[in-house]
Every structure is written in C-alpha cells, then in structure tokens.
Symmetry: C2
Subunit: 464 residues, 2 copies
C-alpha cells in the first residue's frame, strides 16, 4: 500500500486539532504503543494522538483521508492478535482518553459510553445501580471500544451471549471523517442492512467507534459457583454436552487443568481452593433467589457425579467465588510468565466437539515436542490454547509454531469451528482466516472493506 | 435497470433444472404471487419456479447471473412492504417447498432447517422436545426464511430478542450461484466481518437463504399472562417504562385499545375476556416455577395498580391464555376487514417514547380526518399503526397517506426511532429509509449491495 509519510505539516495540523500535549512523536512515544499483549509484532506509529472527542476524531480522519495517511485506533492495547499495532506507521489514534460514561437510562435499560471506558469501570458503575452488563472477558482492563471491535465474548457467553448482543447503537467516524449514528436505543430494528452488526467485530478497519449505547439487564440477585474435580480432562469436558442436553443453562462453564492452576497459584502467590485433581469444571449459576439456583445446580451436580466427578465444591460466598475467579483470571498471565514467548490459538468449535479438539491439541505436544497449555470456555466451545517457546531457538520455534497452528486450525475447520471465538483476526490470524473463508469469501470481506474505506487507510493490514 | 426478458430458452433451462411441474408461466401463475399482504403493489413474475434443494437454487442463480435476469425469492408472501413482489418481472423463486426440518442437535441446542419451514411448525417441533425457539411474530404461517430476511421480531422480543439473535449460521446462495456457509453451530465468533448478521434482515437482496442453523433454549416450564385494563391508553403506555425501571423483564408487553378488541371479537366471532375498558396492557411472564413467576408478576401488578390500572386479570390456564393471544393474533386481519384498504407504519422508538408517539399518531387522525388504528409491542417500542382508506377516493387517499406517513416517520426520527422494527423496508418504505439514513448512509448500503450482487439481479428495487 502506498501511504504518505507523516511530515512536519501533518504534525502541525494534528497539534492544531488536539493541542500539543496530546500529540507525540519519535522518542515521546512509549514503547507500549509499538505492540500488543501477544502477537509478536513490533512497529511504532509515526505519530501518536490522544483524541478527546468525536469532533477531533472526525477532523483527524478527514485529514488522513485527504492526505492518504493510515490510521490505527487503539484502546488499552490488551489484544492478542496485533490488531492495534500500526503496521504501516502513520497515525495511531489513542482512544483511551475518551473515557466518560455519558448516560444511564433506566427506562430503556441502556448505558451510553465513550470507547475508552474500561470494562471494569462499566461493571462497577452498573452493578452499583443493580444493573448488569453481562459480557465478561478475562481482561477487565480492556476498553469497551476494544471489546466492541473484537466482539469480545468472555465467561458468561453460555447464558448471555457476546458483546455484539449487548451493543444497541454506535456512533462511528468513517474513513473520510463523516460521523454516523447506527442503531440506537431501539430494541428491534429492520431498517436496511445491519451496519451496527457489521461494525461490531470489525477491528477498527471499517470505522472508529466514538460512542456506544449498551444494553443492560437487571442484575441477578444471587450467584453460586461450583468447582468440580474430575479424574482427567477428557471426563470433565465430555460432561459439558450432557449438562447442556439436560436443559439447564449455567451462566459459565470453564475448564482448567492442574498444571495451569499450579502456575496461577505461583503467579498470584495465592492458593486455589483445591489442586489435588487433574482437571476441573468451574460452573456459575445466577438467578434471583437461592431456591431457584439451588434447584438448577443440584441437577447439574448429579449429572457431573454420574459422569465420574470426584466431588462438587460449592462456593456460595462472595469471598470464595472471588478467590476462584481471580485465579481463573490470572491463567493467561501465569502461562505467559512460565515461558519465554508464546502464541495463542483462540478457536471456537461446536460445544460437543470441545473434548475432541482438546485431545487433538494435547497430542500435538508429543508429535511436535513442544509445550501446549490450554484453558477456556467449555460451555461455549471457545478454547484458548497456548503454544510455548521455552528454550527453542527462534528458527525452530517459528517452524514448529506454524506447523502446530496449521494443524489446529485445520482440525477446527473439520469440526465446524472458526478461527477466532473472541480475540479477532488482527494481523496474526489473517492466513488462517483466509484458509477458512476461501478466496471467494475473502473477496466479499475485501469488497465490504472497500465500501467503507475506499482508500484503505483504516487500520491497514488487518482482517483482510 | 436493464434486465433480460425471460424467453423460451430460459424456461427450457429452468425446466431442465427443476422438472416441468415446478415451473409456471403466464396463466399458470396464481394471482397470490403477484402481491404480498399489504403493500398495495401488484406485479407478476415472468416465470415462477419452486426450488427443492440448494443445488437447484445455485444452478438457477448461476444462470440468472450469466443471463442478467432478476430473481425474487419468496416464502409465504405474508410480508407487508412488497419485499417478495417481483417488481422487475424475471424469475420468482418460491422457497416454500424447501420445507424440511433437517436436524435437532440437543447437545449444541440448535435446530437446522430449510427456509420454507413455517414458524408454527418450528414451535411445535421444538416444544414437543421441551425446547424453545423464542422469536414469536404474529404471523405464524410465515416461513422461517421470510423471518430471517426481515429480521422478524414479535411479542417476546422484550425478554428474548429478535430473529437475528437466534440465527447461528446460514447457508446462502449468492447472486452468481456460489454456495456459502456463514456462521455455524458455534456460540462465539470473531472471525472477520459478520456476514451472518449482514444477511439477516437483508430481504433477499444479498443472497438466497437455503438453510439456517437456529439457536434454541430450554422451554420455560410455566407462563402466565396478565390482562390489565386502564382508563385510557396514555395511562397504560406510560406504565411500561415504570415496569422496565423496576428491574423486571416480562416476556411480552403488548398494548391494545377497545375498538381494536371489538373489531377482533367481530372478526373471530369470539368474546375477549374483557372489553369494558378503553385500553389494556397484556403482559406475559415465563419461568421454571410458579413461585418464580408469581414473585415477579405480583411486583408488576402493584406497579400497574399504583399507576392507575383498574384491575389485574390473571390468566394462568392454557385455555384462557390461548383465547387472549388468539384475539391479539387477529388484530391485523380484523382491522384489515374493517376497511377497504390500509397501509402500515412499523416504526420502533425507544420504549420510553412510545406514549408520546402513540399520542402523536392519534392527533394525526383529527388533523388529517382519517381513521388510524394501532396496537403493538409496548415493551420493545415497536408499534403497528394502520392508516385506513375507508371510502376515500384513490387520489385523496394517496395524498393523505403520504402526508400522514411523512409526519409519522419524521416524528419517529425525532424521538430516536427507526423506520421499521420488524417488517423491513421492501419496496414500500424505501423513501422513508432514504430520509432517515441520509444520502451518505444510503451510499454505504448500496456499496454493500454491490459487493454481494454486482449485477443487481437479487430482488431488485428493494431496500436500496
């Protein structure tokens, strides 16, 4: 792609829009902005701009459009696929200062926010008002804008769905600076193609999200978690379709194995309630009364025991639940801390194929003589599988990683799965998306991209 | 648009694909195929073909693409905006013979169907297995393909959402005959732009749906309806935001007025449980136990009584509920039977603006001296407002209808609403979509359309 390099005039223009102290060049740009949390790619933007409002974003985009300068939007940079790395240099648009909660509307059950608000700030704000924003990705310090751009999922997708299901409306700035409202506070909509749903999950390649109207629910009054040890992982995971088939929908069903728990204990310096078994299911149930939840979880506890579970540990205090879920939240960091470098496969498969996929990925460990660790959302079929470099040489690592990934994504395809459940495609997973969509499908995606961004300046090099 | 006329060679080709007895021309085409249920537009296709499988659809589309012949897909023709009328002649593709339920998968809670399966067949099939497909549009004899194409909503959207929320995957045939699988049985997906969500609600203008994977839920074990009379409509509707604000989510909240109820009684020849009050709210609650539901509806009953409700009539038997809901289901037909011709406004507004909108539309009756009747989904802000011709001359009717519609859609826009909540844009609502999206927004829709259908042969003249 043939973009214009950023020069002195461009910087002057950006300063005229945003004030000096929010425009950074060269050494002023912190190293953090050159990468995300995982994708193994490093590249600095030519200029970093911290936008404060929609008008600024619009002016910057119009200028970039007129001058053919690439723009990469960025939230907290917690992504795992290089989506927020400015591969082609140009302008990085840091959205994290647009972080106001603008309105809570209790009559329409909506929350209107700027894109830089953190997920944990949203939870706290709404839960203080007995309301509930169900999407619950592991990384609570991500921005809502980032969550919208990757259609983030999280633990509670089993019962409640993903970010897309909780975005009612968006304000976006398009590649030419045009400001557009799509969707709104309405509950139903059949008025032309759903631009809202197209924008969600588009990883900043179709427009810059500058405002979002989120759907809320009443906060469930009670939640109980069950930690259920099994003799081995296969037995644990094979129990999940039996739970679903019993016509009970837990809020979350996670799986975890002993050595990931041990790594997390070491990382956090805190004991997990139990680490004596090889594998665990962690389930949560929520509802409005103790009786309602008990009825349901007792049924599930019996299903698990019939399927060979060793015990059922009930966590009905906030403290106990926090201790379990904080360990769960640390798995990614704990695995990362245990090796030199790693890469992640975020596949999703139909939930009755999870056992088969996990078994397959475990076999790859032996076949390729490489460490592979996994945990994930057994209840919605979305697995996080980490391939670890340890002390492999760069060359061997790259070869093995490519082979292991290729095998995993092709297995996912065979099982009716998809390349990414919730982390997106970004830069790192493009070849696998290509393989799974085929050339005709990719052509469609590219045409859609061109409809929104004819000059290709929005987050170039990502998705398609 | 410059399409090729259908000739003898084309007919011969279609017969070679589909057999003689599923290809109809001229007098063989039933009058029903020249219109839908409302839009006031009549046009016959040049040839009507009843497809039996995806391969046939693919061959027909490939041929149509190569020969530049327009193709209009059609289900049961129950639409209200002319979406399934072959405005430009060409081939009408009747999908109603592709009506097999292909698979129920209880481990993944999905149902795979062909597009011609009727909504009422789906309900029965899944409910017999204690499962639940929540979308519940009034017209139960519509096909699921039609529901997907209009992103149909229905009564239960308040609690469960709309058709889009229950479509996990689609098989579609694109304009050039290419068969494409989008989405699947997976619960999460962040693998490129969401083509699935783009296809849902696209009214047959982007592709022909030939298979759908629907999401199911466990069937709630109990449901109770409350019929709540109010002294007037304003008081009834103004109660709805109070219910939502109380952090209770009913399954459905409908509003209705006395003269619509009387019309329905006359139309059905059956008494409604009560017709003594001017206005009613009809609420349903579902759940897994009587206690769970009672707790919730008692709270709501108190809110309604505090807001001036005259009584709370509880329907806890299946028989009583059926009698109320069958009357509700007949409203459209009853209003239609009471006049010579009518047209419908299917706006959706934020749910705390419903009262304002209904009041506004009532005032239009006096202002324009024309009968206007309405009922609708108070709980999700989606109103069905009917403007009646009665004995007006064609000329006066057309003028008044245009003026009234213009006023209503511009009011909807002002209140943050949208042109269509669940019936789509089709042909009839195009000018209003244009006004609400603006020229830039329409340009985007057109570009998306071109990405999928570069020759514009798929359902031309609809949406954009």
């Amino acid at each position: 792609m043939d973009f214009k390099k950023v020069d002195k005039n461009d910087i002057d223009y950006l300063i005229s829009v945003c004030e000096q102290d929010r425009v950074f060049i060269e050494n002023e740009i912190n190293e953090d902005y050159s990468h995300d949390e995982l994708a193994g790619i490093h590249k600095y933007p030519e200029v970093l701009v911290q936008a404060k409002n929609t008008e600024e974003v619009s002016k910057i985009m119009k200028y970039a459009y007129d001058n053919n300068i690439p723009v990469t939007p960025r939230g907290q940079g917690t992504g795992l696929v290089g989506g927020s790395v400015s591969l082609h240099g140009g302008i990085m648009l840091d959205m994290s200062k647009m972080n106001e909660i603008l309105e809570i509307d209790e009559e329409n059950l909506t929350l209107t926010v700027e894109p830089g608000v953190l997920l944990m700030e949203i939870s706290k704000f709404v839960e203080d008002r007995d309301l509930f924003y169900p999407p619950d990705p592991g990384e609570k310090s991500a921005t809502i804008g980032g969550n919208i751009n990757t259609n983030a999922g999280g633990m509670r997708a089993v019962k409640y769905g993903v970010t897309r299901d909780f975005v009612r409306g968006l304000e976006v700035v398009l590649s030419n600076g045009e400001i557009m409202e799509i969707g709104g506070k309405v509950v139903k909509n059949s008025s032309g193609y759903s631009l809202k749903d197209l924008m969600v999950g588009s990883e900043g390649t179709l427009g810059i999200v500058t405002k979002a109207v989120l759907k809320l629910l009443p906060l469930p009054k009670k939640a109980i978690s069950l930690l259920i040890p099994f003799p081995n992982l296969e037995m644990a995971i094979e129990t999940v379709p039996k739970i679903i088939k019993s016509k009970v929908i837990p809020t979350a069903i996670e799986y975890m194995v002993k050595d990931v728990i041990l790594a997390s204990e070491e990382f956090l310096g805190k004991k997990f309630p139990d680490n004596s078994s090889d594998a665990y299911l962690l389930l949560t149930f929520d509802g409005n009364s103790k009786e309602e939840i008990e009825q349901v979880y007792e049924k599930v506890a019996h299903i698990c025991l019939d399927a060979g579970a060793l015990d059922v540990l009930i966590s009905n205090t906030q403290e106990r639940q926090d201790s379990i879920w904080s360990a769960r939240g640390a798995f990614l960091e704990a695995i990362k801390a245990s090796t030199t470098e790693m890469d992640e496969c975020d596949v999703v498969v139909p939930r009755n194929r999870v056992a088969e996929f996990v078994k397959f990925s475990n076999e790859l460990q032996k076949e390729f003589d490489i460490r592979i660790k996994s945990f994930g959302h057994a209840g919605d079929g979305n697995l996080h599988i980490y391939v670890l470099k340890d002390d492999l040489s760069e060359e061997v690592w790259e070869k093995k990683l490519a082979d292991v990934f290729k095998a995993m994504y092709s297995k996912a395809n065979e099982l009716g799965g998809k390349v990414s459940g919730e982390h997106g495609i970004g830069y790192a997973k493009k070849p696998y998306l290509q393989e799974s969509m085929g050339s005709f499908g990719m052509e469609l995606l590219k045409n859609i991209k061109l409809s929104f961004d004819p000059k290709g300046i929005l987050n170039p090099g990502k998705v398609c």
